[in-house]
């Protein structure tokens, strides 16, 4: 069903955890739908220095979360904003068709986290 890469990221997810006092936190999904992804960002300058995630969800949800954290680490915010859900799925050698819509939300969570960071920055003035 899942590619070897998906299974690897599911069984050995990269960057699981939280960042205390993260610069940006993004969350998508809800428990009712069976998927929640939360992404924590540590940003210095314009660069994502560290990233962690916590996910409740299926194999695809966990794997895409893990993959997006790998893809984004060390990138600038602008580079990070170009990462799409489709790109994450592709980096995992694809996802089953029925997973493309419901569980492939990791890039959305990333974008939410960046949005959250920007809002915080704005608030700081």
């Amino acid at each position: 069903m899942y590619s070897a890469k998906v299974m690897d990221h599911f069984m050995n997810p990269r960057n699981v955890g939280e960042i205390p006092d993260a610069d940006g936190i993004g969350e998508v999904g809800n428990a009712k739908c069976g998927d929640i992804m939360r992404i924590y960002l540590d940003i210095e300058g314009n660069t994502i220095k560290d990233v962690k995630f916590k996910t409740f969800g299926c194999g695809a949800a966990v794997a895409t979360s893990s993959m997006v954290t790998e893809m984004v680490k060390g990138k600038t915010i602008d580079e990070a904003l170009t990462i799409t859900n489709a790109a994450v799925a592709e980096a995992l050698d694809g996802l089953p068709a029925n997973k493309m819509h419901c569980s492939n939300l990791a890039a959305d969570a990333l974008h939410e986290a960046i949005k959250n960071y920007k809002e915080k920055e704005k608030a700081k003035g």
């Binding site: 969350e27 009712k32 069976g34 929640i36 916590k54 409740f56 969800g57 299926c58 194999g59 997973k99």
Partner: protein, 392 residues
């Protein structure tokens, strides 16, 4: 790697005795049972013997058994066939919210095509109320379709009581007994059943075979038109090796059922108790004790999602199933768990272990060793678990 199959409600291996009997009919006794030559007639005799074997397991007469390609076809045949044949008498059908999709979707198809449907609710254990049913029966009710045992939570319905009620009101009564056959006693006469669906691949027979019991005198419009096999009720060259295998599987099930059920109950209870002892925040789904199939364990493990549990178990060689939406690619979790008024987020974390003939105590020990570690790992990843911990 150790492999532990605990998904017998999805399907079972074919019993070796059944498989080797079938081989004979694939390669040596391969005639078409409708042919008059001896290549055909030797197969015809074996098919009729299988009809006896299936009938015997459910207390029917052989000529009340029509072979089909499986439980789904038999469910469709019963419901569509009765609806078509009795539409002049009435157009109201009653079923329950926890039926298999083969029943529920067929009833809903009829509801879109001129019939009226009452879907009975269930209680939190997944059981239909006979009083609710009594109130739902109307003068134009032509069919009640209620399953014997539920495939997800193992809940056994009060079929004999429903049968009595149906008989009093002269309403036809169809029972999907796919999950109960071979696990608990099934008797169409004692239960006052008019139509009953059974399926071979759930009782160590081959896939692609099932049967519909049709009480003598009941009319049915067939699903297929053609060669007129099965006394015109089901056209198509008979799947003779499959039918013969199914018959043998029924014979074996009849002989072994009592002893097997007793053993399965012990394993079932060990597994359930072990999970409750070793993992916190676990909810048992479905009834306990005698209202539950002897081989079914169903729990919701909170703060984790079902497919993740399945995948993690699978990596350790353990096969189970889940009512999580993610396992079916739909958005909603199991309609059965939702009908039992379980919140979505808990339903997503449900896990079903369905035990079978070849499972051992060691299998259960292995699951009880691995599952807590898996749950711990997934909960470490879960934002829901965090939330709960913080809220404490």
């Amino acid at each position: 790697m150790r492999r532990v199959y605990l998904d017998h409600s999805a399907t079972t291996p074919v019993d070796p005795e059944v498989a080797s009997l079938m081989m004979t009919y694939y390669t040596e006794k391969y005639g078409n049972p409708s042919s008059i030559h001896s290549f055909g007639q030797e197969v015809r005799n074996a098919v009729e013997q299988a009809r006896h074997q299936v009938a015997a397991l459910i207390g029917a007469k052989p000529d009340e058994i029509t072979f089909t390609s499986g439980g789904t076809e038999a469910d469709n045949m019963a419901i569509l066939g009765v609806a078509d044949a009795y539409r002049k008498k009435g157009r109201h059908i009653i079923t329950s919210a926890v039926e298999h999709h083969a029943v529920l979707d067929t009833c809903e198809y009829l509801a879109k095509n001129g019939f009226e449907l009452t879907i009975l609710p269930v209680n939190e254990e997944g059981i239909v109320s006979v009083e609710d049913l009594a109130q739902a029966i109307r003068p134009d009710t032509i069919l009640i379709s209620i399953m014997h045992a539920n495939n997800e939570v193992g809940a056994i319905q009060p079929i004999a009581d429903i049968g009595k009620l149906a008989q009093e009101h002269k309403v036809l009564f169809h029972v999907d007994a796919v999950q109960s056959l071979g696990k608990i006693p099934v008797n169409v006469k004692e239960m006052n059943v008019d139509l009953m669906t059974v399926s071979s691949h759930k009782i160590y027979g081959p896939k692609g075979v099932g049967a519909l019991y049709i009480r003598k005198g009941i009319r049915l419009v067939p699903l297929f038109h053609g060669g007129g096999q099965e006394k015109k009720r089901r056209s198509g060259t008979e799947n003779a090796p499959g039918i013969i295998g199914f018959g043998k599987a029924c014979e074996l099930a009849g002989r072994r059922m009592a002893a097997e059920a007793a053993e399965l109950k012990i394993l079932r209870d060990k597994l359930l108790q072990g999970i409750l002892d070793k993992i916190d925040y676990v909810k048992v789904n479905g009834p306990l004790g005698d209202s539950r199939l002897p081989n079914n364990v169903n729990v919701s493990i909170r703060f984790v999602e079902g497919e993740s549990l399945l995948l993690s178990l699978d990596m350790l060689g353990i096969a189970a199933s889940s009512g999580s939406a993610c396992t079916s690619g739909s958005l909603d979790p199991s309609h059965v768990l939702l009908a039992m008024r379980m919140p979505h987020e808990i339903a997503h974390g449900s896990l079903r272990f369905s035990l079978g003939r070849q499972n051992t105590e060691e299998d259960i020990d292995y699951v009880l060793e691995q599952l807590p570690k898996i749950v711990e790992r997934l909960r470490m990843m879960s934002p829901l678990y965090d939330q709960m911990k913080q809220a404490q």
